[in-house]
Amino acid sequence: MSDSANLVGLAGENRYRQAELANQAQELVNKDQGISLLERAAERRKKDSKFRSFWEKTKTFWEWFRGNELIRYARWAIVILLISAIAQTFVEWDTFSASVAGHLGKDDATRGETFFHAFWWSVVTFTTVGYGDVSPTSPLGKSLAMVMMLVNLGLVTVLSGTIASVLVARRLQGGTKLDAEKYNQHLVICGWNHMVKEILEMIAGAHPTNNLIVLVNEADEDQVSRVAAEFKALDVTHISGNFTEESVLRSAFVDQSRMCLILPDTSKLGSGEAPDEQRTILATLTAKGISEELFVVAHVLEEGTVPHLKRANANDVVFVDPHVPFMLANHAVRPGVPQLLRMLVEESADAEHALSVTTVPEELAGQRHDMVSAFYRATHQWTVLGYAFSQAGFDLEKQMAESGSPLIRAMIKEQLEDAGIKLSMDEQVAITLNPADEFVVESGYNAVVLT
């Protein structure tokens, strides 16, 4: 069989290939079921005890409470407020009790009222509001107030700075921050194209135990959520960001994920533009860089990208050949062409017509195409579609032979070989389709015929 017949053969497999990617995802979902059943049982047992679950929640809260920067500064502020309020209550008892008694229209204020008044004064001073309704009068009270004011000056600056930075950090994360506890053994799909919907459809159809899916792409939020909303059975989250960046992948918790699918991304492209395969490679490298154990499946459109991805350590590469759009488009614009191709591809033994290759008889070498064509028409009722012939390889060493200086020849050879470039090119099969009548058929040519 010649190359052309092989290519057409590939076109026939398209409809199977199309589903390959989604199938792969599905397979993994199923593969994990055995393990996750055990894990789930263990988890359920743990949750049986309500107290334990409450204790765990408290613990989580406590860890968060202790770890949060903002809360740490706020705690310090409250401690200082309390200390200063208590100190002022003692030192400036007369001033504060008289002031609060005056406010309340009483002769005497209780201890609690006086303390609250001192606390009130502390907050008014701390926040730099400073109503001035009451203030320490004794030198000791004033000194304490001064110390507190100076300490507050630093604390207020740090506190407001922290609030600002927390807000900025939240903005940078794109507003979506996933719960690290929840995202475990989930599926991450990087990139956006028309196939995402199909993939989700197939996964939803398989009713996986783990239905957590994170989509990472730069597509329009509305567009993504519209698609995601169709699948009630799946828990789909969208992270908007460049999936080639480590921080973005980390925010999707790829390191805890079951698998990362990387698709050709069309989210920022116009209708005619092809997705950038480099980004697929880059994303694979980044994902593998985050966790070597991560299972990465990449989908590429160009065959040339496949070896790069293998080198980037992708666990599997799905290459859907470009005949899919060709077949689909031709159904619409050139009806008949896909049907014809299928007929030729699905040839059976008793098929009336098929593609075939035959060596042109030596007697016809040197003749024009119209004559050769007429010969096959007359003898076999075949139509000659074109010719296949092997193109001689090229051997640089042979080409250079003994010409020029041996120094230069040796250098060329040595340098090319060092660079891993072979000095000869292999023979290749070239195809001439539908040649002009004047095309001369040379010896050794094979005719590609429709029988």
Partner: protein
């Protein structure tokens, strides 16, 4: 620095030099008068590639190595390297001693030879290669001025010499053209298969 084995520079010695083969005995004698005798010890540099020169060196006895500088790519980047092209050895008389290093290139044996001959036709010609002594060398130096003076006095001296120089220049040019062709091929070859 005359030793017992010093080659006597006379008409006979001159006639053995490849460039002067077409000259008469009187003409050779005239050239012998213009040549200044010199010697080189092993490893001595006779000509240095890239230098400008207006002298030609006549080697009467000994072996020399001709090297060229080339840029090559190594594991640590691009570096300059000296590549031996050829060795030339006199046969009449043969060298007194064995060469200091074992030849890695072809050794061409001729009665006697001149190097830097392009200096005879072009003023301040660039030396196209480095020539290093491999054995003690008995040599003579002739300047372009001295040769021009001889040619003025006897114009028939110039023609055979220039013919020889021209021959070697044409040969060099042919080789260089082939080299360019080879390099161009290799260049496109590398570009087309490199990806």
């Amino acid at each position: 620095m005359a030793t017992k084995s010093d080659v006597k520079i006379d008409a006979d010695a001159i006639s053995r030099i490849n460039l002067f083969q077409g000259l008469s005995e009187t003409q050779c004698a005239a050239i012998a008068q213009a040549v200044e005798q010199t010697t080189y010890s092993p490893h001595g540099i006779i000509l240095n590639e890239g230098d400008q020169g207006d002298t030609m060196i006549l080697v009467f006895q000994g072996q020399v190595e001709v090297t060229k500088r080339v840029l090559i790519r190594t594991s640590s980047g691009i570096s300059e390297s000296k590549k031996a092209i050829i060795r030339l050895e006199t046969t009449n008389p043969p060298p007194e001693e064995d060469p200091v290093t074992v030849p890695t290139v072809h050794v061409v044996k001729i009665p006697a030879f001149g190097v830097g001959e392009f200096s005879l036709v072009a003023e301040n010609a660039i030396r196209t290669a480095t020539v290093v002594a491999m054995t003690p060398i008995q040599a003579g130096i002739i300047t372009i001025d001295a040769f021009n003076k001889l040619a003025e006095e006897d114009p028939t001296i110039a023609a055979p010499v220039f013919r020889e120089v021209a021959k070697s220049a044409v040969q060099n040019l042919a080789t260089a053209t082939q080299d360019i062709s080879n390099l161009t091929q290799a260049f496109f070859f590398a570009l087309s298969t490199g990806n």
